[in-house]
Amino acid sequence: MRALVFIPAWNEEAAIAGVIADVRKAIPGADLLVVDDGSTDATAERAREAGALVASLPFNQGLGAALQTGYLYALRNGYDVCAHLDADGQHPAEEVARLLAEVTADRADLVIGSRYHAGAVAESGDYRPTFSRRIGTSVFRFFLTLATRQRFTDTTSGMRAANRRVMALFSQHYSPDFAEIESLQLAVRQGLRVEELPVRMLERAGGSSFLTPLRSAFFIFKGLVVLLVGQFRPRHVEAE
């Protein structure tokens, strides 16, 4: 089983080297790719210094496009499984290893690391959501569950593992605007086995969250539109 771990990164020069080291230690067998989403700081240099292969997008394209780059790379280069995690240090690599193991064992096509799942225990220094994020989370949780008839607790998690069926799907269809939610809906609609696994997440190592209350409201609105439209999208025929 060839495994790829990719890390979408946008202006994360402070955290990226630590994340790479963490992944190398926890998942030594996997290849590593940093997708640099048009960073204007030294993210790409830091990643190369840390020994990672870097795919640099020429300009910032958004998280969805960065993730899709990773899926496309994994698909093209014949990896059996792939996983991705955030570049800001919120996602411990040992948890990613657990997600990968789940896919490798073929218990699911796509595995999401959930920080809200009942099994996730909060320790000191662990992730605690802000108020506006909690509202957004519960709204999305409700509507995504409604749309997919499957229970999801952490709809916006950026820690995932996937097999080739998912790579083929996501490298073709991945919303640049609302990557996380729409991709879940899409995967379930395509009949893929999507599963959540409780994971530990940490507080951010550097940088700040982009969410302000107004942005959150817009974010939620956009998400609902995306979900509604997604319900009426045609199902795609699998290529492989």
């Binding site: 020994g51 870097v54 640049p176």
Partner: protein, 147 residues
């Protein structure tokens, strides 16, 4: 604008306004031809503008046409009919551009992704060619050289 101004005279367009409108329409179509000639406008995006120009010309040549259309729409005031038609046309055009823009945005994204992947692979190959066998373990020097 001038077409609208001409319509202020309601059904009875003076021959002067009709001539002005016709000249304007012709000028408009010539401008489109010139843009195509200078490679500033692609043919496939010019068709819609040509149709608009022809519409203007037809309106100037046959003022009765607008009245017929207004009657068909069930609008008594031809001014209102003209406004609605132009407004709908522009709305359609704007939407058409949004669609084109979305498609091009998707194409640009894919292009950027392909290039990023190609470059990363080339980097990886160069690293392998430098004889740094153990991939990922001690590629630091090789990478710094390539920088």
């Amino acid at each position: 604008m001038l077409v609208l101004a001409a319509e202020a005279g309601q059904v009875h367009l003076t021959s002067q306004t009709r001539i002005v409108a016709a000249v304007l329409a012709l000028f408009f179509m010539l401008m489109i031809l010139e843009l195509i000639r200078r490679d500033r406008l692609q043919e496939r995006y010019s068709v819609i503008w040509f149709i608009a120009g022809l519409g203007m010309l037809a309106g100037a040549a046959f003022p009765g046409l607008l009245e017929v259309v207004a009657n068909l729409m069930g609008v008594r005031n031809t001014n209102v009919a003209l406004f609605s038609i132009v407004l709908l046309l522009l709305l359609g055009l704007a939407l058409n551009f949004s669609v084109i823009m979305s498609r091009q945005a998707a194409q640009i994204t894919r292009l950027a992704q392909e290039r990023a992947i190609e470059k990363a692979l080339a980097e990886k190959r160069a690293e392998g060619a430098n004889g740094n066998g153990a991939s990922g373990e001690e590629p630091l020097e090789a990478k710094e050289q390539s920088l």
